[in-house]
């Protein structure tokens, strides 16, 4: 059984977390924060500040050198290896370097989280087609990542991250390779997830985007984290995408 802690309902909670790579300096120092369900944060900071590192800690690709991280109320350091997949399925990740599987088509890449979760193939098809249409890749569903442009790969990566309707969405520079119009369109996907009550963290250094949406931001500088409140009323209009995720009926009935 997962060990429940007193995180007060937070989706993510860091307590005095520090991380160093090997014998190097501490990249992150004394990081403490909580993310409540349904919150939307931008993660900003200069290049090399540790944004990707912080996200990796959140999606369980790294273990902290010290401190405590709990996800969905479970202490991750005490979770046995066999429980990690269940936690990871509740998290959607857009990796900075995409990490698409080059030998699979765009369709199969996006379908992966559903198939791993044992979703029926007809359901897989329905959701994948819908999402590929939304990110404008319907005509490229049979293309393999190496034949796609950086922007197209990024959209496949985003579709794969959101396809299973994760409770926590972590995106590492998800708008780095697309023009501003596509960036706004992709952000609407995240807004839609947010509207469905999901928790979102997006690392970016696109100031225009941060200001436009007005969500609070987590700033990393010199290994330390500071959370700055956003605008009271985000400027973003009502999202124009309506997505249904497999599993919604069970989880949010």
């Amino acid at each position: 059984m997962a060990v429940q802690d007193d995180s007060g309902g937070a989706v993510v909670r860091f307590e005095n977390v520090g991380l160093r790579y090997g014998l190097g300096p501490e990249v992150l120092r004394d990081i403490s924060f909580s993310l409540m369900p349904g919150s939307f944060h931008f993660l900003t900071g200069p290049s090399g500040a540790g944004k990707s590192t912080l996200l990796k800690l959140m999606y369980l690709a790294l273990r902290p050198t010290r401190g405590l991280i709990s996800l969905f109320g479970n202490d991750t350091s005490r979770a046995p290896r066999s429980e990690l997949p269940q936690m990871r399925r509740r998290i959607g990740v857009v990796f900075q370097e995409f990490r698409l599987l080059d030998h699979l088509t765009a369709y199969d890449n996006v379908a992966l989280p559903l198939r791993i979760g044992g979703v029926r193939e007809d359901q897989v098809k329905k959701h994948v087609m819908e999402l590929l249409a939304w990110v404008g890749l319907k005509d490229h569903m049979d293309a393999r990542p190496p034949t796609m442009s950086g922007g197209q790969q990024q959209r496949v990566a985003i579709a794969r991250a959101v396809i299973a309707g994760p409770e926590l969405l972590l995106a590492d520079e998800p708008a780095g390779n697309v023009d501003d119009r596509m960036a706004v369109r992709l952000l609407r996907l995240f807004e839609e997830l947010h509207r469905l009550g999901r928790t979102i963290v997006i690392a970016t250094h696109n100031e225009a985007l941060v200001r436009r949406l007005g969500h609070p931001r987590m700033c990393i500088e010199d290994g330390r984290l500071e959370i700055r409140p956003g605008l009271a009323d985000p400027a973003a209009g009502a999202p124009s995408v309506r997505l249904a995720f497999p599993g919604d009926s069970e989880e949010f009935a």
């Binding site: 999606y59 290896r81 997949p85 990740v93 599987l101 080059d102 198939r115 794969r160």
Partner: protein, 294 residues
Amino acid sequence: MMSWRRFDLPNDREDIGRFLPWLVAFMVYLSIVALAGLLALERMTARWDHGVVGTLTVHMAPAATAEQNARRLKDATDVLTATPGVARAEPVPAARVAELLEPWLGPSVRDADLPLPLLIDVELRDEPEVDLGQLGRSLDAVVPGTAVDDHRSWLRRLVSLARAVEALAAAMLGLVALVTVVAVVFATRAGLAVNRDVIEVLHLIGAHDAYIASQFAARAFKTAFKGGLLGFLLAAPTLFAIGFFAARIEEGLLPRIEFGPVHWGMFAAVPLLAAMAALVSARTTVLRTLGRMV
């Protein structure tokens, strides 16, 4: 499961994965031929055990005339049938003797008036045991120059030789199975190393080790089955060829080497067994290797 149809892993590019089907083909070929040898020997030794070991041959020098020969045969046969433990004693007709000698002496043996030895076929009961020395002396007293050929001692030696060959064939089957499993384990390890990145992504997306293991297992099964099928297809003509040549060579000592539907069923099961072994080895290897990761 869907993962039987689709692979999330790239096709093997590492050499060991490419050479695995050929190795399995060769191993399955060897296994089937060894198994066929085992089955043929088993049948042969069983026949020797039950048929020939309980027999012996009495032979005598021929006399000058056919009447004398008939006399000698009758006298010796009378002694034999009177001996407890003898089930049956029958003189071998001269024509049959000529036929038996033909391979050694040529076709002229039938026409030429050669002095052919006189033979009596004797079948023994299990009980009571016949004292062959005593029997030889009694026969010699009636018909001088009579010798008793005991098939038992040399047939026993032949049977034990055959049993040793059988054990060898069985050991070879075991060795072949071991080599196949080891090859699959190494190919799987290489596959895990080459696909480290893909596996990490699958893990981060929430795949259990079992999901990844089933992918490797499905591929190992497919690969081994393809190779095994090839091995089977190569083994079948080999078996027919062996049966064909054996049928021409032997006649007499060796029984015909023929395989029935049951035997062919066993041969066809070999590639399937190899594929199952590959599946289990791959699965176990992946689960063990991933389980050791943090």
